[in-house]
């Protein structure tokens, strides 16, 4: 009996330790050390070469994670602003809901504010991030890969092999990131068009139901309306 007890205690300790080590290792890998955010946008890379190098030095996988995080955050933020905007009265007349007047590719950075949720501004801002991302990826190609599995960084052949795989992955990633961005912009555009209409429809339905209730009330009154006015008269025509 005593032996079983010790075995169980040993197994429990082993499981707890193994789980803790695994979780620690995963946290270390995902963001604790390598993939810390720079609190900078990829859009700024276009005007800041140092930032581009800083991003590139983080390695392909971390850059990829940061880029997609930023894109996801951008659309989340825009959707949040859009949903809040839709709660306001006459939201469709708000400047932030509409495309800024006379906006074009030269002045969109000035005219498209953070609060603007027009598809044009959102797509241009996403495009800025994407362009910065591709520039960083180009820069990444100039570095030796640092994410070699199994700690084989010191083996030259392994390094070049991984470098070739990484560069191929980067080429595919450029195309994939563009497809995802375009599809997301399309979905955002649909949502931006459909959801306000839905809100308007909801308001119409609400008003119609109210209207229906009023008419129903009138009908209740009409039921009691006399068919004939027997022995009824007035001193005047009223």
């Amino acid at each position: 009996m005593e032996i079983f007890k010790k075995i169980i205690i040993g197994l429990a300790a082993a499981l707890i330790t193994a789980g803790g080590v695994t979780i620690y290792a995963q946290e270390e890998e995902e963001g604790g050390i390598v993939c810390d955010s720079l609190d900078k946008s990829f859009a700024e890379v276009q005007e800041d070469d140092d930032l581009k190098n800083t991003f590139a030095e983080m390695g392909y996988l971390c850059v990829k994670k940061l880029y997609h995080d930023e894109m996801n955050e951008l659309f989340n933020k825009k959707l949040e602003i859009l949903l809040n905007l839709l709660k306001e009265k006459d939201f469709e007349k708000k400047p932030d809901f509409q495309v800024p007047g006379n906006v074009d590719v030269d002045n969109y950075k000035e005219l498209c504010k953070v609060e603007n949720v027009s598809t044009y501004c959102v797509s241009m801002q996403a495009l800025d991030i994407y362009v910065g991302y591709t520039k960083v990826l180009d820069q990444v190609k100039g570095y030796l890969p640092i994410e070699l599995p199994g700690g084989d960084s010191g083996v030259i052949s392994k390094v070049f092999k991984e470098s070739g795989k990484r560069d191929m992955a980067i080429a595919a990633e450029v195309e994939n990131a563009r497809k995802v961005m375009e599809a997301t912009i399309g979905a955002y555009n649909e949502f931006r068009l459909a959801y306000p209409m839905h809100k308007k429809y909801q308001q119409i339905i609400k008003d119609l139901v109210k209207y229906k209730q009023k008419i129903k009330h009138i009908r209740s009154e009409v039921i009691e309306f006399p068919i004939k006015f027997v022995d009824a008269t007035s001193t005047a025509c009223k």
Partner: protein, 556 residues
């Protein structure tokens, strides 16, 4: 120290296990943090982002980018690995290993499908060939699933919010329009006035009491100790009272009391239980006996002050009843049956039932205007209901008027010093002139009738008589033949002249009549025009009145 040994060993073993697991993961996967985050998330379909149950309005569209990334890049890869793994009898992880160049997985796999080669017995070349085949299949699947997800991502987003399904997006424009249509035009519930009461009280009588269902309250079927039998079309229930005792009672078709003359029945029962009456003529004794019976009643009379309270007569203790049978009064009590066999005691029971009558007052309406009625239905009903009202004039008809004269809304004024209200009629109507003798009759027809009535017709029509008269008065020197020819010629001329004159007269008369008729008709037409204008004015004023009626306060 010995107690810490298991823990120490466990920690060491756990550390080794954990490091091994981490190392294995690093070796066998191309670390792709973002893909892992997305693929291990819960964003698999559109409804996860837009229409998830419990998703608040503020969270609509959250992580839309992740969803699309997952659809376009992660899902195709994932699905293709799953498909290939299934085809080759591998786990997904093993398929990924093979795709990453690990031949050993194939070589050592004990459950490879699609191959006659047995695990552990295949050569390296065979394993490589199998690996190449798996990778080719994987690429085909990947291309297929990528195309599938691209099509989905390209088309679904445009149809997502207008496909009539709210489950995939949380809202849908087509659905909204259908709701609007329903509110406006559709009716789910038939409007019924005079139909079954919408909120009527539940009747205690079962709606389908034929055949009667005798179910116990707990649904266990017929209550224990109760048996039913039918005789002569009447159902009776026999209720076991324990032992050999039972109670038999008729079962009513409905849960309602039959209309019976309880007083007459009670008196009849009372008389049947009376002891043999003394010989006739001894009325006084009979009266005393009745008084005696009544005085033995165990039913206390209700006190004078408690008539409004519940009246429930109390009986004596059962032991006391058994000790003093029979006790009878107004059908309440016990009595021994005369046909009981010897040695047995049977009895009939008239049980007193104290019924509590609760009067429930509730508002019931046969007008079933539910909340799901549509606007058009309501308007139609209003029009239908108003039809009856509008068929009658709403204007008071107390004031009499002339023919074709609006007898409505006449202004009166008082004559000073005399209690008379004077009602001016602004435009008395011209009644049609009494010229029916002229209008509508032909004067010649009337003349013929006149002549016919006087008997002149025959006289004038006799041509032979005229000829004879002329011949008798011929001048001398003229033969009869010549005279006859002259007469015929004269007659013909006269006839033609007469017809011409008559035609002229008829034409003149007709024209004159039309003229006269027109002259009489024109004023009337003008008058009618004036009336129609006044009618129009009245209608306009009625519209104003109707508006003012709406604004009048109502008495609740």
């Amino acid at each position: 120290m010995k107690k810490l040994m298991p823990i120490t060993i466990g920690i060491l073993a756990g550390t080794v296990m954990g490091l091994t697991m981490v190392s294995h993961a690093e070796e066998n996967t191309v670390t792709n943090i973002w893909d892992d985050i997305v693929s291990y998330g819960n964003l698999f379909e559109w409804q996860d982002v837009f229409g998830a149950v419990g998703l608040s309005e503020d969270k609509q569209g959250k992580d839309l980018y992740k969803l699309i990334y997952n659809k376009l890049l992660v899902r195709p890869d994932d699905d293709s690995f799953k498909a290939v793994a299934q085809n080759y009898g591998l786990t997904k992880q093993e398929a990924e290993d093979v795709a990453n160049g690990s031949i050993s997985t194939i070589y050592h796999s004990s459950h490879m499908k699609g191959s006659s080669l047995k695990a552990g017995k295949m050569t390296q070349a065979e394993a490589i060939a199998l690996s190449d085949q798996l990778i080719n299949d994987l690429n085909d699947y990947r291309e297929l699933f990528t195309l599938q997800q691209e099509v989905d991502a390209a088309t679904a987003q445009s149809e997502l919010f207008s496909n009539g399904d709210v489950a995939d997006s949380g809202f849908d424009l087509v659905y909204d329009l259908s709701v609007i249509e329903q509110v406006l035009f559709l009716s789910n519930t038939e409007i019924s006035v005079g139909a079954t009461f919408e909120n009527q009280l539940d009747s205690p009588v079962p709606k389908n009491s034929n055949p009667p269902q005798y179910e116990s309250p707990d649904g266990a079927g017929t209550p224990d100790g109760v048996t039913f039998s039918e005789e002569g079309g009447e159902t009776t229930a026999k209720i076991s009272l324990g032992g050999d005792k039972s109670l038999t009672a008729p079962v009513l078709d409905g849960d309602v009391c039959t209309s019976e003359d309880n007083l007459l029945e009670a008196l009849g029962e009372y008389e049947s239980t009376l002891p043999p009456t003394p010989p006739a003529g001894d009325d006084d004794d009979e009266g005393e006996a009745t008084d005696t019976q009544l005085s033995q009643s165990d039913v206390p009379a209700a006190t004078a002050d408690s008539w409004g309270s519940v009246f429930c007569p109390e009986f004596n203790d059962p032991k006391e009843r058994d000790a003093n049978p029979p006790v009878e009064s107004l059908g309440l009590g016990f009595s021994q049956e005369g046909d009981a066999e010897e040695g047995e005691t049977s009895f009939t029971v008239s049980l007193p039932l104290c019924l509590t009558i609760e009067l429930i007052k509730d508002k019931a309406s046969s007008y079933t205007a539910g909340s799901d009625q549509c606007v058009k239905c309501e308007v139609d009903q209003i029009n239908k209901l108003f039809e009856k009202t509008l068929m009658h004039s709403l204007v008071p008809n107390k004031v009499t008027g002339n023919y074709l004269e609006g007898a409505k809304c006449k202004e009166t004024f008082d004559v000073p010093l005399i209690d008379i209200k004077v009602l001016p009629i602004p435009a008395p109507i011209l009644t049609p002139p009494k010229d029916d003798l002229i209008f509508g009759n032909n004067i010649f027809e009337e003349w013929n009738k006149f002549v016919g009535r006087l008997g002149w017709k025959d006289l004038l029509a006799e041509d032979e008589y005229i000829e004879e008269f002329e011949l008798r008065n011929l001048p001398s020197g003229i033969s009869n033949i010549e005279a006859l020819v002259d007469i015929q010629g004269e007659k013909a001329r006269n006839r033609v002249e007469a017809l011409d004159e008559m035609a002229d007269i008829q034409t003149a008369l007709t024209g004159g009549q039309n003229n006269i008729y027109s002259q009489a008709l024109l004023p009337e037409m003008r008058q009618m025009t004036v009336y129609f204008e006044r009618f129009k004015k009245v209608f306009e004023e009625t519209a104003v009145v109707c508006k003012s009626i709406v604004s009048k306060p109502t008495i609740q």
